[in-house]
């Protein structure tokens, strides 16, 4: 079976988004597992800067050739930055999901939501359990 890159320097949601806290801002994207499951990403729809997102609620949409999937916010807060390059280059999500394939930055009021996200080891178990 395929191996999945799950870096230690960030947290994970059970919906396969990653989150990385820097001061009061959390950058967000989808995991290597998610991008491999989706296949060729051809379209990413993201919210506008200034939008408020709720943890566990859809904030956007990611489409592969065959399928449409919702993107779920791993933390609540206000969107302060959006990766507009993905409009032109959705393939960055496949090529570099933890780097150029980032999606947005959320300004959070407190970091308790972030702290409750899965650590890399727990997310790795979560992925392994679903592979069956």
């Amino acid at each position: 079976m395929a191996d999945y890159d799950i870096p230690e320097d960030r947290r994970y949601s059970t919906e396969d988004e990653w989150a990385r806290l820097e001061e009061d801002r959390v950058s967000v994207g989808v995991t290597d597992y998610a991008q491999q499951q989706l296949g060729d990403i051809v379209f990413v729809e993201l919210p506008a800067v200034g939008t408020t997102v709720e943890r566990g609620e859809p904030f956007g949409v990611i489409e592969s050739v065959k399928a449409v999937s919702d993107l779920y916010a791993p933390v609540s807060g206000q969107v302060v930055e959006v990766n507009t390059d993905l409009a032109e280059h959705p393939e960055h999500v496949n090529e570099d999901c933890y780097g150029d394939g980032w999606m947005l930055t959320i300004e959070v009021e407190d970091s308790t939501e972030y702290d409750s996200l899965l650590e890399a080891s727990a997310y790795r178990r979560h992925v392994a359990e679903r592979k069956g």
């Binding site: 395929a2 296949g39 060729d40 051809v42 379209f43 949409v61 489409e63 050739v65 065959k66 409009a87």
Partner: protein, 368 residues
Amino acid sequence: MTEPKRTPLYETHCRLGARMVDFAGFAMPVQYTSILDEHAAVRERAGLFDVSHMGQICLSGPASVAAVERLMSCPVATLPQGAVRYGLLCNETGGVVDDVTVYRLGPEAVFLCVNAANIEKDYRWTLTHAGEAVHVEDRSPDLGLLALQGPASQAILERVCGPAVGGLKRFRFVEGSFQGTRTLISRTGYTGSDGFEIYLESERTAGLWESLFEAGKPFGLQPCGLGARDTLRLEAALPLYGHELDDTTSPLEARLDRFVKLAQGGFIGAEAIAKRKAQGHPRLLVGFTLQERGIARAGHVLTHGGSAVGVVTSGAPSPSLGISIGLGYVPPSLASVGTQLFVVIRERQVAARVVETPFVKAAGPRRS
């Protein structure tokens, strides 16, 4: 839930790391590596598909050709031995039971290659309507089917099945042999590129796959799944049963006029199709491209002037064109090329324009 059926290549697909899905009751590969790569392989080089899920219904006996003539929307009696034709099985209301290819095996034998989802329905339909004198046999469980598609497919197939296949014209077939087994090779496909389909006994299908796979390596042959099959057929604007066609849709609404012997008549559904045409079709199938970012999907609503006017039947990003394409039904007044439509994608109106189909013209040497 019944366990999905397996084609003779199930183990091969798993070994190649394919992502398997349930399609029409069969465990089928949707992709091996990437739909975009597999799509490009077919357009530029060659792709190998397992389509053993498709069904084969053989009709034989002195009355068989006349029976199929009555079952099919296309002429069958004039079809020479060794030729294949695309057509529709229609019902009495002029709807489509299935879209199939007819192979003229001999003076008193034909076979129909039918959609996997419709094997049971088609078998019962032909059995009921062919008449008692005709022997009808569902050969689907005994036969495997591989599709070798793309500009390099001729060179690859010649290495495996001999040079005779190279002279095969589009929509012709020959009986060949592979390692001592009989095969039937037709220059047909469902991709819009040049290519072949090879029928043979189930037990030999994995062996043929391996041989083609090996012979194809120098040509950049890639195994391809149903994902690429769908984007390729959509670029070629080939209908998919259950999307563009169903039991209520007239083949003329689907713009399949050239596969319907309307003047000749004499087939089941002919009168209803003619009557529906005379009354005026409420909708026609159109091809459209999106003029903004987004992807139209089956089920999305089409609007014009702020009102809902139709529905998308198939939609996908076109890997060859780099834009989003789709097929859908709209009233005839909005079916002309150039008409401005909108596709409602997640409550957003995305601009689309009716265009000529096929979206992508075949690059291969021959085309129907």
